[in-house]
């Protein structure tokens, strides 16, 4: 046969040819083709090689269950491996390549594995490759890994965009076949908000390939009329090319829409794929049924195809499966295909029906063999003929196509995503979804219904029922009730007497004998058999293979299918790209950016930024001529201690606290006293967790009788706010206290250094002399001649005379500029978080480097802050436990090298002088360290056993990762100005 495309028929547009390539070879298809149908039209039956034995494989199905026709499509960053040719809508410029073959799909050296197949049975790798032990990783595993896998993924970045979207509806209808269309029509007419989702590029499902009349009309007319009516309803949304992949709690469905996968010219303004999260009040699953393959020798030879797929290709794309087709069936579907083949003028060599009493009126030309089976298909890279066992006699018929019709399995995947187990039905000879699941009804072929007319009726009827639940009282089913009269035949799980390999799971090359071996070795449980043989674990998730495997296991174990049961259906129904799941949150947009109101001010001043959570903070401000970051930081530190510096601390968490019980509340959430904090004063507070560990620290100021202003660390701002709300709402709802996060309201500026007061006084209207505004003062101030109100706090992290000035964020930059201007004559400089860190370490101030969730106040020298008089505060009760009062807890000390020319790093461990390195001898670790330009040495804070008692002890600071072993001495953590002389300036 020169062309497999018939000259007439189909739903293709013969006026629209589309050029594409397969393995580099130019080919042409038509609009309305899938890649699979286009390949078939070009006479390309062999499209891939199997996973293990590298057997030649052709196209088996016309849909999502396809196990064989996996190809790599696209180029560069658009390369997509393992793409089902049956689902790809053909477009001009498509490039497709076969996979898992070398050098080519027609001549694949890997096929030698077929010869070794007796040694490569299920689980053989668990029994060998163990000697010599080192060989597994060096020899065996690399070979296995190279051989395994399917397609090759690209390392190039994806040039396209993706997005996610929410949708809401009264009724979600999954599948736009006859059942789904009837359901959508019923709900649409009732005025409900309907979403109808279908994975195909053309809605209609089985109606697209149905040739028999439906309810007195042609299927295509019925389809056209229904779609036209739905299109006119504003309350109905049609999602084409949209696969519903998962059913989640709260009746939320995940769906993926293929927006621009059908074009080589992608519009950058639109995503290529879009994830829908559909919140549906009710849903109808109208996903149809999957035809079962038959398990006989050589059932994987290219040319063997599902009978229903054959019919779909014939009627939708006008594709002939071959010159001479044999149908192997135990179901009516085989006959429907035969009818259509003959109607198209194609030869049907025989209909092999395994049922002895196949009493079907057959008026076609083809010969019927009742009670017969195909035991073996013959051929290599294409089908040559079939061997038939007919009442004890074998017979060979030559044929180049074989259609398999083993009966239908309802597609109930989604209905089982929330834990429900499928239920075996003897009447339907199928696993059905359990009934009465809230929010989801299974309808039509997915519920085991056979005829198209009954599916229409079922879809309409179940939609009407769902609408009733939703309160649409007067809905009318769009199609009248119609009893299903289709008879279900006894499934044929396997054919006995095959000579060739009879495949159960095509893609993973699991054949009949593998399942037998699993049972005899004790892996007969359906889950163990799956794991041992890998049946159902391929990219098709066993859509074709699982049911036959269960039948075969049942036979081998001599129990019923119901007792064997199924493996668990889990999301996703079909594989889903990382890109779609990620949406727009990629690259620099992985997480949002949070910018300080002084970000642009810092940029203007040359800051180098560092990511701090979602914020960017200024690290340091290099000046011309400075070549290392240390140079800049040292200068900033020395300048602050000598003159003054300005630092953006806007990222600290800031919380306004209101209420008549605000003071009482703070007294309970801090371990130190807050009840009597005077108005106009700030206090350092330590917040514990209920288990006694320090949670966060910060200063809280009283701005009014019932108004406090709390600051938190940058990292814990959100956590502290949640914690306060928990305490107020869940623990002590009787207290009158409210919170407003004002982190973003204020630009907060630290001005530190001996000249800070002089500089600030230039902006602040009120007197801020030491007498008027002493250490820990906190008040609203008038700025710039009364043009602005800010808040001034006399607090210090650097140990210098220092202030923090908060101004409304929009004025932050102007005020920072004004401070810089006022400070210029005094030598002010901007400083970043690095210099801030150096100064706080010099002063022995802790941060979350020390407050790491495992320290209690006494570990950090805060024992005296813990109130002994307050009746209750968070964390009080657990502090007295033995482990929290133990002598040997890691506690804060300073550490510095004996030789200032040597250094050490944070994360180094502390060993007693001369001790052998071991965990037993571990004394603690360096939690923070820096170079102190004031001391001319590296200094560190460390958490060390018995820390405070060991000042003066010589130790080794051990950093084996860097081969750095520094002799050092433990000391007070306060390295600089221990008398706090500078603080009071």
């Amino acid at each position: 046969m020169t062309s497999y495309r018939l000259s007439r028929g189909g739903r293709i547009d013969r006026a629209k040819p589309l050029d594409f390539t397969f393995d580099g070879k130019p080919m042409q298809g038509l609009a309305g083709d899938t890649l699979a149908s286009a390949l078939l039209a070009n006479g390309r039956q062999l499209v891939g090689r199997s996973f293990k034995y590298h057997r030649p494989r052709g196209i088996l199905t016309a849909g999502a269950a396809e196990p064989n026709a996996l190809v790599t499509i696209g180029e560069g960053g658009r390369t997509e491996a393992n793409t089902r040719a049956t689902l790809v809508e053909l477009y001009s410029g498509l490039t497709a390549k076969s996979q898992n073959r070398w050098p080519s799909v027609d001549f694949d050296l890997g096929a030698v594995n077929s010869l070794l197949s007796p040694f490569l049975g299920a689980g053989f790798y668990y029994k060998t490759f163990m000697w010599p032990a080192a060989f597994w990783e060096k020899v065996y595993e690399p070979i296995i890994r190279k051989a395994a896998g399917l397609g090759r993924a690209t390392y190039e970045p994806d040039p396209d965009s993706y997005e996610k979207c929410w949708a809401h509806c009264d009724l979600l209808v999954i599948g736009a076949g006859p059942t789904g269309l009837a359901a959508a029509l019923t709900a649409g007419r009732a005025g409900a908000r309907v979403i109808l989702a279908d994975e195909g590029f053309e809605p209609g499902g089985s109606l697209l390939s149905e040739t028999a009349p439906v309810g007195g009309k042609s299927a295509s007319d019925l389809l056209a009329q229904t779609l036209a009516e739905l299109a006119d309803m504003p309350n109905v949304r049609m999602f084409s090319r949209t696969t519903v992949f998962g059913w989640y709690d709260g009746n939320v469905f995940g769906a993926v829409e293929s927006v621009q996968k059908n074009t080589a010219t992608v519009d950058p303004n639109r995503p290529v794929e879009r994830i829908w999260r559909i919140a549906a009040r009710q849903a109808i699953l109208a996903s149809g049924a999957e035809e079962r393959p038959l398990v006989f020798g050589g059932n994987d030879i290219p040319g063997v195809m599902m009978a229903g797929a054959m019919r779909a290709y014939l009627n939708r794309q006008a594709i002939a499966p071959g010159k001479s087709t044999v149908i192997f069936t135990n179901d009516a579907s085989g006959y429907a295909t035969a009818v259509d083949l003959e109607a198209a003028g194609l030869e049907v060599a025989a209909i092999v029906d395994s049922r002895p009493d196949a009493a079907r009126t057959w008026s076609g030309k083809a010969r019927i063999l009742s009670g017969a089976v195909v035991v073996d298909a013959n051929g290599g890279k294409s089908l040559k003929g079939v061997t038939i066992l007919n009442n004890g006699r074998t017979e060979t018929i030559s044929a180049d196509a074989l259609g398999m019709a083993g009966g239908w399995s309802p597609i109930i995947h989604l209905a089982c995503h929330r834990g429900a187990k499928p239920v075996w039905s003897d009447a339907k000879a199928a696993f059905l979804a359990p009934e009465n699941q809230e929010g989801l009804t299974v309808a039509g072929a997915a519920a085991g219904i056979g005829s198209t007319e009954s599916c229409l009726a079922d879809g309409a009827g179940k939609a009407a029922s769902a609408l009733k639940v939703l309160g649409f009282s007067n809905s009318v089913a769009a199609f009248a009730e119609k009893a299903d009269t289709t008879t279900v035949s006894k499934p044929l799980w396997r054919v006995h007497g095959s000579k060739g390999k009879a495949f159960v799971d095509y893609q993973n090359d699991v054949h009949l004998k593998d399942l037998g071996l699993a049972v005899s070795e004790g892996y007969g449980h359906v889950e163990l058999a799956k794991r041992y043989t890998t049946n159902g674990m391929a990219t098709d998730q066993g859509k074709l293979s699982n049911i036959n495997a269960i039948g075969i296991l049942a036979e081998a174990r001599k129990i019923s299918l119901a007792d064997v049961g199924t493996t668990t259906f889990r999301p996703f129904y079909t594989p889903l790209s990382f890109g779609a799941l990620t949406g727009a949150s990629k690259g620099k947009h992985f997480q949002p950016v949070r910018k300080s109101p002084l970000h642009d001010w810092a940029k203007k001043n040359g800051a180098v930024f560092v990511e701090t959570g979602l914020w960017y903070r200024s690290s340091w401000f290099p000046k011309a001529g400075e070549t290392t970051w240390r140079e800049s930081v040292d200068r900033e530190v020395l300048n602050v201690r000598e003159n003054a510096g300005i630092c953006d601390v806007s990222t600290l968490g800031k919380i306004e606290i209101f209420g008549t019980d605000a003071a009482e509340f703070l007294n309970r959430v801090y371990c130190n006293a807050f009840l009597k904090l005077p108005i106009g004063k700030a206090r350092y507070g330590l917040m514990l967790r209920e288990d006694g560990m320090i949670y966060d620290d910060g200063t809280t100021s009283r701005l009014g009788e019932n108004h406090f202003f709390m600051t938190t660390t940058t990292a814990y701002a959100a956590g502290v706010m949640n914690h306060l709300e928990f305490c107020a709402q869940a623990l002590w709802p009787d207290l009158d206290v409210q919170f407003a996060s004002s982190t973003d309201q204020w630009a907060q500026i630290a001005v530190a250094g001996p000249k800070s007061r002089t500089i600030l006084q230039a902006l602040v209207d009120e007197d801020i002399s030491d007498a008027a505004f002493p250490f820990l003062g906190a008040k609203e101030v008038s700025l710039c001649g009364g043009t602005l109100t800010g808040r001034l706090f006399r607090i210090s992290f650097s140990g210098e005379l220092a202030y923090e000035l908060a101004v409304p964020a929009g004025y932050g930059e102007a005020i920072a500029d004004a401070i810089m201007a006022a400070g210029k004559p005094h030598g002010i400089c901007p400083y970043g978080v690095e210099a801030l860190g150096v100064m706080r370490i010099e002063k022995g101030h802790v941060t979350h480097s020390e407050i790491n969730g495992t320290v209690i106040p006494s570990d950090l020298g805060f024992a005296k802050m813990v109130s002994t008089t307050k009746p209750d505060f968070i964390g009080k009760a657990m502090l007295s436990r033995e482990g929290l009062t133990a002598e040997d807890r890691l506690s804060l000390v300073g550490v510095k090298p004996l030789d200032p020319a040597t250094t050490f790093k944070t994360g180094s461990h502390i060993l007693s002088d001369g001790a052998v390195p071991s965990l037993e001898n571990d004394q603690g670790y360096v939690s923070s360290s820096c170079y102190s330009p004031n001391l001319g040495s590296t200094i560190g804070l460390a958490l060390v056993k018995h820390g405070p008692k060991r000042h003066g002890e010589h130790v080794t600071v051990w950093n084996d990762l860097k081969n750095e072993y520094t002799k050092a001495v433990l000391c007070s953590p306060v390295f600089f100005d221990p008398e706090n002389g500078k603080l009071h300036g």
Partner: protein
């Protein structure tokens, strides 16, 4: 679960808007309740298969702490209420 939680103040909202703290069936003991009571409060959990009350914070919504009664087997949500009205009975 928790694809959607029906916040009593805001209506159904997705899990992403919430912060989960955990067991809401335990009551903070009196300060002097003793070591065992405090140990039980901070560390021991019922962890039932079935209905379970939990504290969920509608962090990206109304910022209220809620008590969500949820089934740990089916993920069905039976009740959602504001933690303050749940009060000390939680």
């Amino acid at each position: 679960m928790a694809s959607l939680i029906a916040c009593p103040h805001c209506g159904p909202r997705p899990k992403e808007e919430f912060t989960i703290r955990g067991d809401a069936g335990i009551v903070r003991p009196a300060p002097d309740a003793g070591e065992d009571a405090w140990h039980a409060y901070v560390y021991l959990r019922d962890n039932p298969r079935g209905r379970h009350k939990e504290h969920w914070h509608h962090t990206s919504g109304c910022r209220r702490w809620l008590v969500v009664e949820r089934d740990t087997m089916s993920h069905a949500i039976h009740a959602v209420s504001d933690a303050s009205t749940e009060g000390a009975t939680a």
